[in-house]
Symmetry: C2
């Protein structure tokens, strides 16, 4: 028998999905991108993505309010549709809930999903609720649409393209460290003290918000469109920047060079990293749950992309043989490494 750890998450998916039969004429793109792409109505393509969140792996109910959890679960799927340059339209929600949940808990979870959908004009059209013997499980499928020919895959990056990312990175990861620390303190106190203890997160609100209430970047997709820029490749940053850069490189058959000094960081992220004695660049490169967009544009779009608010050029695409490199502040080059199974 072969241990799964030997292949890793991405290796296992690749192993299982190789040579999948594709006989349907409506299937334009199957496994291997943020969404599957199907032919649809009136010159449109249909986008499909599905994700499952498991208690204890993807979230910890001790510090995750159920409404936030629902919101985040929905946002993670909407983000996958935006990463294809599409617009999410419908959602299906499967929940498996254990006996310790009350109707009000499920309402709270569902209200978060509804809120995310309302913000993005998405209809909830189906799904399933069942019992779970153990923890909470949430599986969400999102349908989206894009005009034919406007879908952006991971595979379109070309050498000399600029590599850009929206927002900033590593904040959700630092939020997670804060929550884990407070949880540890809380759990190791005697119960009477614990009840009275209120963690002080003042000055850290932004990190917690990034962890608990991420926003899918529709605004960035719209800004790019308004500026007449069509990315050559795009992916959302859910597993960490390194991992996503490598996905684009692999799908596009290219290399990449990103610059440490260009990594977008929030001030609070840097302060918290210092406090936890962590390298903030490592947090930005490998921390998950950012839900920012990573994309490539042709060199000719340099001027235009520099004008887009909240987007930063962090490097460029190279020929494959030049590898996937991080250039540190002092000019040294390091090969990018991706984490598998990390919080996903």
């Amino acid at each position: 028998m072969t241990e799964i750890a030997k292949l890793g998450e991405f290796g296992l998916i690749k192993h299982l999905t190789k040579e999948l039969p594709q006989g349907q004429s409506t299937t334009l793109k199957g496994v291997g991108d943020d969404c599957a792409v199907l032919k649809s109505v009136d010159g449109k393509n249909l986008l499909l993505t599905s994700d499952m969140l498991m208690e204890g792996i993807h979230f910890d109910l001790q510090y995750t309010p159920l409404q936030h959890l629902g919101y985040k679960a929905a946002m993670a799927n909407l983000s996958d549709v935006y990463a294809m340059n599409g617009k999410p339209t419908q959602l299906l929600v499967n929940l498996a809930i254990s006996g310790r949940f009350a109707v009000e808990d499920v309402e709270a979870l569902y209200s978060g999903i509804r809120l995310a959908c309302k913000k993005h004009d998405v209809d909830i059209v189906g799904g399933d609720i069942s019992t779970s013997l153990t923890g909470l499980a949430i599986s969400i499928t999102c349908v989206g649409e894009a005009t034919e020919g406007e879908v952006v895959y991971r595979s379109g990056a070309k050498s000399t393209d600029l590599l850009c990312v929206s927002g900033n990175l590593g904040a959700a990861y630092m939020g997670l460290q804060l929550m884990e620390r407070e949880k540890h303190i809380f759990n190791s106190r005697p119960s009477t003290e614990a009840e009275a203890a209120q963690p002080d997160f003042s000055g850290r609100e932004y990190l917690l918000e990034r962890l608990l209430k991420p926003e899918a970047r529709r605004d960035v997709v719209e800004s790019l469109r308004a500026a007449g820029i069509r990315p050559t490749a795009m992916i959302d940053v859910s597993d960490g920047l390194s991992s996503e850069v490598m996905h684009i490189c692999e799908a596009s058959g290219v290399g990449a060079r990103i610059y440490e000094e260009r990594l977008p960081l929030d001030y609070q992220t840097a302060v918290a990293a210092e406090e936890f004695n962590m390298n903030v660049s490592t947090c930005a490169l490998n921390g998950g749950d950012d839900y920012e967009l990573l994309f490539t544009v042709p060199l000719t779009a340099h001027e235009a992309v520099s004008q887009i608010p909240d987007v930063r050029i962090i490097g460029h695409i190279t020929p494959a043989e030049q590898g996937r490199m991080l250039v540190s502040r002092d000019g040294q080059e390091f090969e990018l490494k991706a984490q598998g199974w990390n919080n996903q």
Copy 2:
């Protein structure tokens, strides 16, 4: 706080999904049928269904081979598409697996899903694999298509329509009883004996097959189409016949009368029910996992539907005020009751 048991499974779904906003022009039907229905390409409708299976609730790995589990998980979703008078086309598969699984286990599970898809010409186009701290979770989303105007909803049944069901009922439920009994015997033996013990299922193969390897009834949908019969309402029998009859009645605003003597039963189902000292009609009415099709046709189709192989007329639709009744062999009338949370 309100206990979930107070609302029940269907009550909870109804409660959570009431007044869901539907703003997308492509959404034709949201929650409340076997599939959601969206507008699609070339006068087609798109069908969408999603289901989650949890270890210990929906399946027991002690007696469910992983390949069969994958096959069944896929079939359950295909069945939902056929129940809309559609044709399944694409599948997305989310798996959450615990550390005790090896690569070969996941391969076995996936090979069952692939086999089901191959049989029904369905492409696997996406999904996700993650870890689970506890049991195995499988969430499958199926996409299908139907010609616009040919979709059959639960809501189209009219008074005097004939109520028909394919195949036979209660066999999977009796298969489950056999497996549960053997498991109990196996687990209560000393370990040395247990290893030598081989349960004898000879003569019961059909019941186990119905439990472990159900077949979605594409053949019935095709036979009906070939005969020029379009059902007025249709649903697949996954939670038990009673429950499904009640779904059609509720969605259509009608009543129904079904006849105990007309319930289709396999000989082995009857023998096993006798052995377990169970009422075989109760097994047929409330046993789950049959994956047969329950549908209504106009009275004028009586002759034509009687010619369809493996389909039986079990009753008829009545005005709502006449209730949802079972007429027993001795002519007494009983109100139908549905089970909630039963193996679903």
